[in-house]
């Protein structure tokens, strides 16, 4: 069934179709609609779940963690300051191998208070052990939420489904809502044999000394690497049922491209448009949309970037003193590579990234052999 939905509601429908059992969340702009709609769904009886209106994001995730330890399918949603408040618990969830799914809407971080789009909130959680999937449309949000539960439950690693504040969260697009039957076939009820059971004397999260801790982390690390493969399988299975899939990375016009721009989230749209415009002018441009950022799909990226002579990265985030986080990760991945990488930082705190601005990045790279500096701020008053 097709409906015109804002990104946040697309997420709620994904959660409903996934039959989440325990939902615990706290309001924060621009995520709030996700859980408002979920409460309405629970109230209407469209979703048979416990919805717990906790007193903070910190408690929201603590609550999901314990519910997941007890074997329930758990969901939360947050953004920016809420996500940062969860930081300690993010480690608990991933270290505990709990298949929790979270929606994280990319929003800037204070000071000053800023509700607009920026990716620094989720990217600064990159070492917590959560899988991160970035979405570029409302349809992709709905589909990714459903895929995320399947992925989380098959590799026992929590998954963050991420999309841009307002550009997607509050923007209406036509979205195809799959039938419950189709989703049920794809995502059976949760069955976690490691969940604690009443009557059994087992413990979650006991004190571990140096003689055990490292093996736990190694296992997480190894499984994390396998999550990439697993996601591709799940994505293919989803395509069979719905006709839609997204890929770990999505190359556009890359096969003969001399300049390729890498970016994530809704920037996939305008960058694609700019590539079309440049191609019309005879410039061989391409772009790669990064869907999966954790684990970082090094091989898939290398493959997509093969034809490029020059690589550009568009980051809507900043690690102060280092630069854009995607650029930083890509440079490490391509360390043996001699090709220059232009690291552009733009659109912080929700500043517009116009097609003209993106085009000027391509022209910067066209007009020079190497970048003028590691990090180039665009669309900023100096």
């Amino acid at each position: 069934m097709k409906k015109v939905l804002m990104g946040n509601f697309a997420a709620s429908h994904g959660v409903r179709l996934s039959r989440a059992q325990v939902i615990s969340a706290y309001p924060i702009t621009p995520q709030t609609h996700v859980v408002e709609e979920l409460s309405a769904m629970v109230a209407r009886g469209d979703l048979n779940a416990k919805f717990i209106k906790v007193e903070s994001e910190h408690s929201a995730l603590a609550c999901c963690i314990a519910a997941s330890v007890m074997g329930a399918r758990a969901f939360t949603a947050t953004s920016s300051h809420g996500l940062l408040l969860m930081h300690e618990l993010l480690h608990w969830a991933a270290g505990g191998r709990l298949p929790i799914v979270m929606v994280a809407v990319n929003r800037a971080i204070a000071p000053g208070w800023n509700i607009w789009n920026e990716q620094t909130d989720t990217l600064s959680q990159r070492d917590t052990g959560w899988i991160q999937l970035y979405c570029a449309s409302n349809q992709e949000i709905l589909d990714t939420v459903i895929q995320a539960f399947k992925l989380a439950e098959s590799v026992k690693i929590p998954v963050m489904v991420i999309y841009d504040a307002f550009i997607l969260s509050h923007t209406y697009e036509p979205v195809d809502i799959p039938d419950q039957k189709v989703v049920d076939k794809f995502l059976p009820p949760i069955n976690n044999p490691e969940a604690l059971k009443v009557g059994e004397a087992r413990a979650f999260g006991s004190v571990t000394n140096p003689d055990f801790h490292m093996e736990f982390r190694l296992k997480l690390h190894d499984t994390y690497e396998r999550a990439m493969e697993k996601f591709s399988e799940i994505d293919a299975e989803y395509a069979k049922l719905t006709g839609r899939n997204y890929g770990i990375v999505e190359p556009y016009q890359c096969s003969d491209a001399e300049l390729i721009m890498v970016t994530a989230g809704s920037l996939a749209g305008p960058t694609r448009m700019v590539v079309d415009g440049l191609r019309a002018k005879g410039i061989k441009a391409g772009r790669v949309k990064l869907k999966m950022f954790r684990p970082f799909p090094v091989e898939a990226l290398k493959e997509a970037l093969k034809p490029a002579k020059k690589i550009l990265v568009l980051d809507r985030n900043l690690s102060p003193g280092t630069g854009g986080i995607f650029a930083q990760e890509l440079r490490v991945a391509l360390k043996e590579d001699k090709r220059p990488v232009w690291g552009f930082v733009a659109g912080l705190g929700g500043r517009d990234i116009t097609p003209e601005l993106i085009e000027s990045m391509f022209f910067d790279a066209l007009g020079a052999e190497v970048p003028v500096s590691n990090t180039i701020f665009k669309g900023v008053r100096l």
Binding site: S56, A66, V69, M70, A203, F204, S206, V207
Partner: protein, 296 residues
Amino acid sequence: MIEPTYTIEESEELVHPGHLACQGCGATIAMRYVLKALGKKTVVVIPACCWSIIVGLFPSSCLDVPLIHTAFETAAAAATGARAALDVQGQEDVNVLAWAGDGGTFDIGFQALSGAAERNENIIYCCYDNEAYMNTGIQRSSATPVGAWTTTTPQGGLEDRPKKDIVRIMAAHNVPYTATANVAFPDDLYQKIKKAASYKGMKFIHILSPCPTGWRIPSSESIEVARLATLSNVFPLYEVINGSKWRVTYIPQKKVPVEKYLEAQARFRLMGEEEKKRIQKNVDEYWKELLKRAKR
């Protein structure tokens, strides 16, 4: 009225030998009684505290029930999550026991606790109070009494602040059941836990649990000192139903001076005579007020 007797019927032991507690640890005795009262259909949630160690290192546990370790400040929120999972699985008859220290309850976990109480979550929250951060080596918490030495109050607690009245605060959330208890009064403790389990909604039990290491007492005197706390009215035993009906569950037959309680513990050694008198006065006033509240 219940005398400090032990008549708990022989039931299954759910706290097994091999735990890692210090000798004379009140918190360990408290858990033993509480689980005897709750039985095997219980899930325990423990935040960072001495009990995260006492229970045993991976892969062992001295508890014969499922146990969720959780972050320091999250006992009540995690218990909420465990409750929700059990409920959606149709296991409404299982007890969820949050088991936290005074630091995890009065201080860092207070926000989550207040939230769970306000939502009237169907859990039993026990705070075993050893009156300091003991796991990390005896630092002051807001449950540390005036005048007590800790490693962060080396002058014996210069701060002239009364101990946070946690039970009154919890009762003010109008939850079905709040109570104090003391490991030196096992029957009273046991019956309060049984009673707590019979209510649906939030139950909060504040259990005085001596820590010989932190209180600077011989481990063999742990129970004796805890008993003095109640006999001197420093730690009265009472319960509050629905936040309004107060009932004192033990009235000491012969009042023991507060001094006797204080002098039994080296942590109060730095305390002056004036201070002791002031504490006696505060204790008397509090007791009077408590009896008044109980009469209403």
